[in-house]
Symmetry: C2
């Protein structure tokens, strides 16, 4: 049971870095029990300052880092955070990953990615087995799988920490991060109304996504500030895809009283709307203004560069991991960083005449 007696060669291997130090090495070298070393690793308050300092010196000297696997086995919980997503947009996924990683840096946690298909009949058991097998410390869910109540119910059972990112509060404050899409929609409505547009169109995301409703609701709020209303005939249902944006815009542009401006629920659909305008022989922004949502790379690559609403996905990701592993510290960031904001480029202008 007791670790084998250290040989002189062991210490040489340690010194040279050929062997990584373990808790037993540190305990022996510091002249304490491993339990005491464990106490400094876990920041136990009950420790004499001198004892702590002595041990910390040895730890620093040998560059000791506790083995997450061994710790996890004893804790019955790993130091892994899972990102569970079904959003197919690569830029969203990468921004979210970067934000999560920002918040995890230096924490000893690692990020494990897990795409899923919300339409799968085995969605809940698949996610459950991922969590239980890896004994995940916590998971972050993004739309739309974050809106799934079946998944949420299972999460509560497992005891795994979780944060659901969504456009509205889908859970209590400990378990949800709200992206305030409604605010973004409002900015879009206000922008178009301020330019003087009175007849505006909207291309929504899928109605099964909360964000579709939030963005539309906010849009109508922004228009209403200026006495403009969104007519139901000027609303097309899209699917957050390029093709659905193209089709939706084509439909709206074929109307006798076609809109002079279109708010597309995301940049992909706005890019589709640009193509539809071209097919209809309309110039943007001369004949038609187009505004998107996300401010992904595509927004500045299309022609004309898109006016859009910037969604601070990376900041949201950072917030999510802060909430999960709680190394937020005193939060010195500007709360405005977490709000969508308007980015004006060249696809919007006052209506002709």
């Amino acid at each position: 049971m007791s670790p084998r007696t250290p040989k002189a060669s062991d210490d040489a291997a340690l010194e040279s870095g050929r062997r990584r130090a373990t808790i037993n090495d540190i305990a022996r070298l510091a002249g304490v029990s491993k339990k005491t070393v464990s106490r400094v690793i876990n920041r136990s308050p009950s420790l004499r300052p001198e004892t702590r300092e002595k041990i910390e010196a040895v730890i620093a000297r040998y560059g000791y880092a506790p083995d997450p696997q061994a710790r996890g086995l004893a804790f019955r919980r790993s130091f892994l955070i899972g990102l569970i997503y079904d959003n197919p947009n690569p830029q969203y996924v990468v921004n979210m990953q970067l934000g999560l990683l920002d918040g995890m840096r230096g924490s000893g946690f690692e990020l494990v990615v897990h795409p899923c298909d919300r339409g799968s009949t085995t969605l809940v058991p698949d996610i459950r087995s991922f969590i239980e097998r890896q004994k995940l410390f916590g998971v972050v869910l993004t739309p739309s799988v974050s809106e799934d109540e079946g998944v949420a119910a299972m999460l509560r059972e497992t005891g795994c920490e979780f944060v659901r990112v969504a456009s509205v509060a889908v859970d209590g404050p400990d378990h949800s991060i709200v992206t305030q899409d409604r605010h973004g929609g409002m900015l879009a409505g206000r922008h178009l109304a301020e330019l003087g547009h009175r007849r505006v169109g909207f291309i929504s995301g899928p109605l099964t996504f909360r964000s579709s409703h939030e963005r539309r609701g906010g849009f109508e709020d922004g228009l209403r500030e200026h006495g403009v209303t969104l007519s139901p005939e000027h609303v097309a249902e899209g699917a957050y895809t390029f093709e659905s944006g193209l089709d939706g815009a084509a439909k709206l542009l074929a109307l006798p009283d076609r809109p002079t401006a279109i708010f597309a629920g995301n940049d992909e659909m706005a890019a589709g709307a640009l193509h539809a305008a071209r097919h209809a022989g309309l110039s943007v922004p001369g004949d038609l203004s187009v505004i998107g949502f996300d401010d992904f790379q595509i927004a500045s690559r299309v022609w004309p560069p898109l006016t859009t609403i910037r969604a601070p996905t990376r900041e949201i990701g950072r917030l999510a991991s802060d909430k999960l592993i709680g190394q937020a510290g005193e939060d010195k960031r500007d709360p405005a960083d977490r709000l969508p904001s308007l980015v004006v480029r060249e696809s919007t202008a006052p209506p002709r005449g």
Copy 2:
């Protein structure tokens, strides 16, 4: 040392799924030692068929899955695969992740993402500590960090498995996956030459990326087939970014003998070239043909939709994880799937007149 004696309540918890089975449960329930259960987990050949079947039945009945953390601790190696990348393009990263995950499905391995900065002075020690702390089973490196010989040397020291994805063989066959960018470049050159272009331009990626040279080399090969040569004045050095594509194309288009077609080293730069053409008052493909490389989403979103070379990144990712964890099986996929291919859209046409 011996596990505590099982109580009746334990088995009830097991049956109901409230408690996960361990190797001790399976051993007890199957009437064998845990070592024998371990043998079936690890597919040891020396086992009586009846013994194996009996144990497999118990495993199936209780849905037993070995704890990767405990296995990892005993093996001194985790079941995690790291993706180490510095490519800033989100679509590349996500496609690579999806491909790696394709190859890992059902293997029990998980994917841990690790973006890095090749310019950092602590690049090598950072990656080393990531690998050693997590005792990674293996890592996949993508360009350009995959081309770093300092990182590669460190990898050899650690004993961690690794695969370097690059446009040329940067390592032995066990450690490298070649993306054949030269072939893709050739397809671009051949396509433009076949359309009848004789005066063509090239915007390269950064000269520190191997792919920049491969794509150019292949391009010249493809042109040469048809007796066309690439004049050095018609080459601009870019950086794989939109802005560098815009600048590079603007420079080429300002030439007295401006090219009638431009091959941009990737889609981002090709999108920039499209903007440059617009600024110069040239229509695409009427006055100028443009061809890109990658076939990311952006290629079909810009106007006109880009003719480009499709890089099979997801397939390459799958190949990489197959190589790493070797569950390739007999490889029934078409080898052509791993080769770049030409995707003709609307940005290329014969030169005017």
